[in-house]
């Protein structure tokens, strides 16, 4: 008996080892960025979006729920953090906590409302809620409407790290990203993650086994929303502003695109997708509005030819899980 039982571990154990190797490679590559001459703000921005995409992917890739309103968490955390830093003058770590907690609270409320519906209805409810949030931010004075909150002080993290120095900021963002990435990875491979996958695979069956599916979906929604908020809080330190762009529905669409191109339900896909999209916006900026068209074409090509996404296709090719 024990011999057979032991066999069962390597199958999933190997998958996790592949992913850990890939994680170390990713961390090492990202750590060398400041020495390569690549524009660090581009990479920092990409890291924030990568985290956002990973958080989004946790919900759709492992919970099977397509949210079309995830920008509300990114934007809410951004505004809260920006306001706390600029108006209250708190330290960066408190600012991040305020922003992330705001997104967490919002995700509890919106999750509780939207989780009762499935498929397209779930997507539409999340979209409606995020539009509602958008108009609230458009009207309330503290966001400064169309102007946004500008010139946010970066400050000293824990009183030790001066975030106004690009290299220090870069490594702080990188460490925050890697820690959050590991948390998502752990969540996927946790007892909770197993139940979530079971619900995604066959919800009625999971219910018949005594699982209250809605509670697990809500939990996934809150985790995803909170981590999206964390990404939004980090982004404030990179962009030094918080604006309506981050709560706009096009942002919700962009994150779907990033996760989809990289590969839904893959661990590294959203990271790859985020870097590709952010790089396009950065380096193709000369084409102006045509970037949107190019993005659209890529989206169509992706859906038509490689549905698993870039990382998904590579993983399938090598029969590995990435």
């Amino acid at each position: 008996m024990s011999v057979i039982t032991d066999n069962s571990t390597p199958a999933s154990g190997r998958g996790i080892r592949d992913e850990m190797v890939a994680f170390v490679i990713m961390a090492a590559l990202l750590a060398t960025v400041p020495f390569t001459g690549i524009y660090p703000f581009f990479v920092m921005q990409a890291l924030c979006f990568a985290l956002f995409a990973c958080a989004f992917n946790l919900l759709i890739g492992y919970g099977g729920l397509l949210s079309f309103g995830h920008a509300m968490f990114l934007g809410t955390a951004g505004y809260f953090t920006a306001h706390a830093l600029k108006v209250w003058g708190v330290s960066p770590e408190i600012g991040i906590v305020v922003g992330t907690a705001g997104a967490c609270a919002l995700s509890i409320v919106t999750g509780w409302i939207s989780i009762r519906r499935q498929g397209i209805y779930f997507a539409m409810i999340t979209l409606a809620l995020s539009q509602l949030v958008f108009f609230v931010y458009l009207q309330t004075p503290f966001t400064h409407g169309e102007d946004g909150i500008q010139g946010i002080p970066q400050g000293m993290l824990f009183g030790l790290f001066d975030l106004s120095k690009p290299t220090i900021l870069y490594y702080v963002i990188l460490v925050a990203f890697l820690l959050a990435f590991l948390l998502i990875f752990r969540t996927i491979n946790s007892p909770f993650g197993e139940v979530l996958k079971a619900i995604r695979e066959n919800e009625p069956r999971a219910v018949s086994l005594g699982y209250k599916a809605d509670q697990y979906k809500l939990m996934a929604f809150i985790l995803s929303g909170t981590l999206s908020g964390f990404a939004g809080s980090l982004k404030v330190f990179v962009a030094q502003n918080a604006s309506l762009t981050d709560v706009h529905w096009t942002m919700s669409g962009e994150i779907v695109l990033m996760a989809l191109i990289g590969g839904l339900g893959t661990v590294f896909g959203p990271v790859v997708g985020a870097f590709i999209i952010v790089a396009m916006q950065q380096y193709l900026a000369g084409f102006g509005q045509w970037v949107t068209v190019i993005q659209g074409v890529i989206f169509v090509v992706c859906v038509l030819t490689f549905r698993r996404g870039i990382v998904g296709e590579i993983a399938a090719l090598f029969k590995r899980s990435l």
């Binding site: 039982t5 069962s8 999933s12 946790s190 007892p191 066959n202 069956r205 219910v207 018949s208 086994l209």
Partner: protein, 251 residues
Amino acid sequence: MADEFILETQGLTKEFAGFLAVRDVNLKIRRGSIHALIGPNGAGKTTCFNLLTKFLQPTAGRIVYKGRDITSMAPADVARLGLVRSFQISAVFPHLTALENVRVALQRQHGASFDFWRSKAVLDRFNPRAQELLEDVGLSEFANTQAVEMPYGRKRALEIATTLALDPEMMLLDEPMAGMGHEDIDKIAALIKRISAKYTILMVEHNLNVVANLSDVITVLTRGKVLAEGVYADLTKDERVKEAYLGAGHG
């Protein structure tokens, strides 16, 4: 007396927009028996079944399980009381391995299902029990196979293993032999016979022959109503049953 019957329904009725799918059904399932619910297509078997497991809410009537009124309970709660169902189409988690399928069921009973910060390695303690259950239904060699790659009959067996993992008191099987070849039917029938020593089983079946040797009591349902109830030998002599049910297919 309450102990004699594990599940009872009183005047169970379900109406869909004016159509009475199930009307005034009174069932008494004896503890430890194999009870079959049969009837032609559209007789209301599956609706009845969904009512019992609370996947549908009855329009009228009561459901009493172990002396407890479960009429207004949520499906997940009913499952937690030990009344576990299967599905007509094979209900496995396709992209989990057979072992993981069973483990998900074990995990629910022993908690640890909301811990997103712990490694799933903590679930390995369920592996020996999961392996045992797979062995029980003859699936040892499929432990690391994804359920989606298993042959149909094996999926049904896996489904039973998953259900058994919950250590239920009563199992409700929705057409466990549907879509199976003869060889598989014999295997699953033998398996059901064997597990019936420990559990009460209510199964819905379309085919009377399948349940002939398997069930202690058979309830025949037509047009949402109970037509007759009894042992196979008696039912085959019953004129009403012959006419309504056997008449068509079995001459």
